[in-house]
């Protein structure tokens, strides 16, 4: 790891000013992706602004028909929260599939979303549940947030403060994990929302995406059978030593069926 200047933020404003005052800073939430990236010398920031002590950005609450999760809430907290388990159990389940217990004690929802790894779990929930991402300056709809591989609508220095999930009628998540990294090779989150069914896929492509054919099939018949014959195209899907695009395309249908079954 190349050396950098470590700066601990004491407030949201302090974090923003430390970030903008540095040559080429990165924010660190839980660091579960950033530190491995730095160790491999894939990045060389001048400064690292640690958000880990911003307690105002931690916590889970219910607001109207929404479940609100603050950005620095760790996966373990989402996984074990009675509120999440009662309002959106699929989201609690998803949080419990990320990494391992030690990673879940450090990794945060805000960090995961800002990083937008093609195989991250949370983007599928955010997109399928039609969540809203709140930043220090604005709100961004899930539909507009994920713009490409490791790319989001966030501006330089902009910080996620919380994510607001409309509570769905039903939701389910199922993934096929890589046996070594536990990242989803393909993960599918399905939700029966006020705006109709939404199906979001992570791990398969460069960025999380929806499957409109499945969504329309589910609108008339919410059941695993409804999507069983929807075949996804392998065009443009990820290819690596673990899975071919064709295999990933096949997994989307299998995971979608299981996610719908889990949703009930």
């Amino acid at each position: 790891m190349y050396d950098f200047t470590y700066q601990r933020a004491s407030s949201l404003d302090d974090a923003k000013s430390k970030f903008s005052g540095a040559d080429d800073a990165r924010y660190m939430a839980g660091g579960m992706t950033l530190l491995p990236v730095l160790k491999q010398r894939l990045d060389q920031p001048s400064d690292l602004v640690d958000l880990g002590f911003l307690d105002d950005l931690k916590g889970i609450s219910e607001d109207g028909g929404n479940l609100v999760i603050k950005a620095m809430t760790v996966h373990h907290a989402v996984n074990t929260s009675d509120l999440v388990k009662s309002k959106i159990p699929a989201l609690a389940h998803l949080a419990g599939t990320i990494g391992d217990p030690m990673v879940r004690n450090r990794g945060t929802i805000g960090g995961s979303l800002a990083n937008n790894d093609p195989a991250a779990s949370y983007p599928s929930a955010v997109l399928a549940l039609n969540a809203t991402i709140h930043t220090d300056g604005r709100t961004i709809a899930a539909d507009d947030f994920f713009t490409g591989m490791f790319d989001t609508a966030l501006n330089e220095g902009e910080l996620i403060t919380q994510v607001s999930f409309p509570i769905p009628e039903k939701a389910g998540y199922c993934h096929f994990p890589n046996p070594a990294s536990r990242y989803p090779i393909v993960g599918v989150f399905v939700a029966k929302t006020a705006d109709g069914p939404r199906v979001a896929v992570t791990g398969a492509g460069a960025c999380v995406f929806q499957v409109p054919e499945m969504e329309s099939a589910l609108a008339s018949n919410w059941s695993p059978d409804a999507v069983a014959n929807v075949k996804c195209s392998a065009d443009g899907l990820n290819e690596d030593i673990h899975a071919s695009p064709e295999y990933r395309a096949h997994l989307i249908t299998v995971m979608a069926k299981r996610a719908i079954e889990a949703a009930g």
Binding site: F4, T5, G31, P36, L48, T80, N105, R106
Partner: protein
Amino acid sequence: MSSYSIKMTVNGKEVSGEVEGRTLLVQFLRDHLGLTGTHVGCDTTQCGACTVHVNGRAMKSCTLLAAHADGADVTTIEGLADGDNLHPMQEAFREHHALQCGFCTPGMVMSAIGLVKDNPKMSEKDVRHGLEGNICRCTGYHNIVEAILDAQTKMGA
């Protein structure tokens, strides 16, 4: 680059040192404090041999900055036993021969204590799921799982 004066509590003792921004907690523990019970297996957040407790939560010290742990309360494998009396988890690992080469053991024990703390009524399946972040390259998982299930009963007693 700058250096940072840090202070923390490690196994109940106040310690301090000078570190770089990039110094990892595991380097501080091993190289600065000489606490070599915490191991570096993969250095990529996968194997769990470096697991310690930071403010009561199990974490991988190869993926934590020492500067981030400034002010924290850290427990390592060296801090578990009370004199000659092993912690119930260590005792159970000995009793069940839950180790072969022993390299992963400090991380397994620290991780296992975290698991029992979070859920004192784990099934065998829960234990196996909970150990996803700890790799034993001797593949000696069977006795490790037995030991954790046994220690869970004793820790609750």
